[in-house]
């Protein structure tokens, strides 16, 4: 039985890497993917605690998070495509206008 702390550390590592990705990368697609990493880290936490407390709720939360990630990816990528069509770029710091 792996102690729960290990899961938490793994989750932490993924979370921090995700945060670094979101903060440092310029490409919006990579930023979105880093967000997926963060969500994934949270999932690990939830499932780990679900086992720890012998309670299925954590897993159900995971399901909701995955659903949410799907929705977010759909909308986020939709925005990227729309943006790309207009500006031909996917870099975050070039998204500097409210309207064009």
């Amino acid at each position: 039985m792996v102690p729960i702390g290990n899961y938490l550390f793994l989750s932490l590592a993924l979370f921090i890497i995700g945060v670094i990705g979101v903060l440092t990368r310029r490409n919006v697609i990579v930023i979105l993917m880093s967000i997926e990493l963060i969500l994934n880290a949270v999932n690990i936490n939830l499932v780990a605690f679900s086992r720890h407390w012998a309670n299925v709720d954590g897993q159900i939360f995971t399901l909701f998070i995955i659903t949410d990630a799907a929705a977010e990816a759909a909308v986020g990528l939709g925005i990227i495509i729309a943006f790309f069509k207009n500006r031909e770029t996917v870099l975050a710091d070039e998204m500097d206008l409210l309207k064009w």
Binding site: N6, I20, T24, N55, G78, I81
Partner: protein, 174 residues
């Protein structure tokens, strides 16, 4: 080698894979490679779910995350694939500030987790045993459709909204 041992080794293997994949995701220059690393990381996470006995979440993780969301990502990457983007600067100019901030955050969380170990200041109560069988699909389903029926419906509405939003945004002529 007992099943428990196997699951222990599996955990370390998958954990290492997940971290490597994650690091690859945020550091690699080519976006498609980035996505491949992310897929690796997500698959490793699925493996970790397996070591935690969450079979259903494992399957959902693969079907939805890997088979669905990541395919969508790669699809979009290919649609907007610009060779130009490869030669541009991949990181923001003050990336080290962000990195330091993130590491500080990580340190803080790490400390918390460290102190939550058995005998630590913020000790997590010991695991409850029993109750959750490893083959818990039925439990899972019952909980989902009884206790969490309303959130489930809300999630479906959320998906619908996202669907419509995505369609509207990518439509050519509005």
């Amino acid at each position: 080698m007992t099943p428990a041992q196997i699951s222990q080794y599996a955990f370390y293997f998958f954990a290492a894979l997940a971290v490597v994949g994650a690091i690859g995701t945020v550091t690699v220059r080519n976006v498609v490679h980035s996505a491949i690393f992310l897929i690796t990381s997500l698959l490793a996470t699925a493996g970790i779910f397996l070591t935690l006995g969450a079979q259903f979440v494992f399957a959902v993780q693969i079907v939805l995350y890997v088979g669905g969301i990541m395919v969508l990502f790669i699809f979009v990457i290919m649609l907007v694939n610009l060779d130009v983007a490869l030669h541009q600067m991949q990181f923001k100019r003050r990336w080290w500030v962000a990195g330091l901030l993130a590491l500080a955050l990580g340190g803080q969380f790490g400390a918390v987790i460290y102190y939550s170990r058995a005998g630590g200041v913020l000790e997590i109560p010991a695991a409850r045993t029993g109750a959750l069988s490893p083959q818990n699909v039925q439990q899972f389903g019952l909980a989902l459709f009884e206790k969490y029926a309303l959130p489930f419906e809300i999630a479906s509405v959320l998906l619908l909204v996202a669907l419509i939003g995505a369609v509207v945004m990518t439509k050519k002529r509005v």
